[in-house]
Amino acid sequence: MSFDVPADRRYLESHEWTTTDHETVRVGITDFAQDELGDVVFVELPAEGDEVTKDAEFGVVESIKAVSDLLSPVSGTVVAVNEALFDAPELVNEDPYGEGWMIEVEPSSDGEFDALLSADDYRDSIE
């Protein structure tokens, strides 16, 4: 099975993606991750204004069968939360790179992007 891995994003080995606009980035989980989890039924996210730290837990995503921590690809301040997921967590399955996004972060450091995986490297890691 092949999974969608958009080239315009960077990735964590733990299957989170982030956009690379250095002003405000979006964060979500990958197509591979949502497929592995199965039916997503619950998402726990931070509130606007909360601080997140690169590689540290910022929330939880739960499917019918599993619980998985969400790790932040960057450090910074949460400036938006996708509250649509609270009522419709299935958006994570249906559109993981679009409507299923989770938080927007104002990064505190540009340098953290350098350590993230490229789309090619991430694709290699899941194949």
């Binding site: 099975m1 199965g38 039916d39 039924v41 619950f42 739960e62 019918i64 069968k65 619980v67 609270f86």
Partner: protein, 363 residues
């Protein structure tokens, strides 16, 4: 040692099923999505490969005595074609396994039983049966047929019609909790009108090498162990190794809410301990909880009262696909009977929940 595989493993892999290890077997956990498979069983029909379940056959002049002394229910009530749910307990009355006992048509004038240990328990149960048989000097033959027969479960409101079509009507005569031999797509099978989903349906035992023919005879949603778990959870059915386990979760049938499987008028291993339990009562009972706040209850989560005092813990939990509500099963103090408001501690945060008596849904 490698994982055991059901005879349909390659068929499931070709269908892009995902697999999981369960009881030493590599079994399909999901074909399409748990939600889709679950809904198919509640609304129409689904078929499960449950070939990881054990099959032990017991025959001979003392077969009834051996079965009766190793299971908690009264096996003498069974006529050929009858089925019975029972527990298998140790000397202390702790559940080692739960099982369906089938009385088959007599063989050579002797009583003939089949019982179904849970996945991975067949070796242990075969050993238990043969060791006690020898110790008690009983004349009975015990055979582990786990890898002779595949087991398929056709479940859902449309199951009777589908089964009738595939068996030329033979299954329409089988009442609930009864069993009979019949032909499925030309294959000799043993069919029981039983299941683990709360829906009407059948479980078919078929020769290992002919599983493919029977599996293909039913045009309905293939379902994995994921949906099987959410379906049984909505019904409050026990899962061996999780809701009870002699090591991790030692429970007697009274605590586990299956005291109706215990017949104290019979003699069986664990009887005296269970008579004392019945007399003295239990401190904790198997209950359901429904969360009133966002979150998903899971195995191992603590249950507390409004002051944070311990009331018990959960052994199973999920987001109910039918109800769209978070439900859990577990052992709660008698101070938290159905109707009590409690808190389930979800990753450190107490969430409001109500105690209920399973099942969670009407089927």
């Amino acid at each position: 040692m490698g994982l055991r595989k059901p005879p349909l493993h390659a068929t499931h892999a070709d269908r892009d099923a995902s697999f999981t290890e369960f009881g030493g077997w590599e079994m399909p956990v999901e074909f399409d999505s748990i939600r889709t498979e679950h809904a198919a069983v509640r609304e129409s029909a689904g078929i499960f490969d449950v070939s990881h379940m054990g099959e032990i056959v017991v025959t001979g002049p003392d077969a009834t005595a051996l079965m009766g002394r190793l299971t908690t229910n009264d096996v003498t009530e069974l006529d050929p074609g009858d089925t019975q749910y029972a527990c298998i307990t140790d000397e202390d009355g702790i559940i080692l396994d739960d099982t369906m006992v089938f009385r088959l048509p007599d063989e050579d004038g002797q009583s003939h039983y089949l019982f179904i240990p849970n996945a991975g328990h067949d070796d242990e149960m075969y050993a238990r049966w043969t060791e006690y048989r020898d110790e008690w000097g009983l004349d009975a033959t015990v055979r582990d047929a786990t890898e002779e027969w595949a087991m398929l479960a056709l479940q859902g409101p449309d199951a009777p019609e589908l089964a009738s079509e595939a068996t030329d009507g033979a299954t329409t005569d089988i009442d609930r909790f009864k069993a009979a031999f019949c032909d499925v797509a030309g294959v000799r099978a043993f069919a029981s009108r039983t299941g683990y989903t709360g829906e009407d349906g059948f479980e078919f035992l078929v020769p290992w090498d002919e599983a493919e023919t029977v599996w293909s005879a039913f045009d309905c949603q293939p379902c994995g162990l994921g949906a099987r778990d959410t379906l049984r959870l909505e019904m409050g059915f026990l899962l061996s190794g999780q809701d009870f386990d002699p090591e991790a979760e030692p429970r007697n049938p009274y605590e586990a809410g299956v005291d109706w499987t215990v017949d104290l008028d019979t003699e069986f291993v664990g009887r005296d301990a269970l008579e004392a339990v019945e007399r003295e009562g239990v401190d904790e009972r198997f209950r359901g909880v429904v969360l009133q706040q966002r979150g998903v209850p899971r195995h191992g989560y603590e249950v507390v009262d409004a002051d944070g005092e311990h009331l018990g813990h959960l052994t199973s939990g999920t987001m109910s696909p039918t109800l769209g509500e978070p439900i859990g099963l577990g052992y709660l103090s008698d101070q938290a009977p159905p109707g009590t408001r409690v808190r389930v501690v979800v990753r450190g945060e107490p969430k409001q929940a109500n105690v209920v008596t399973p099942p969670f849904i009407d089927t």
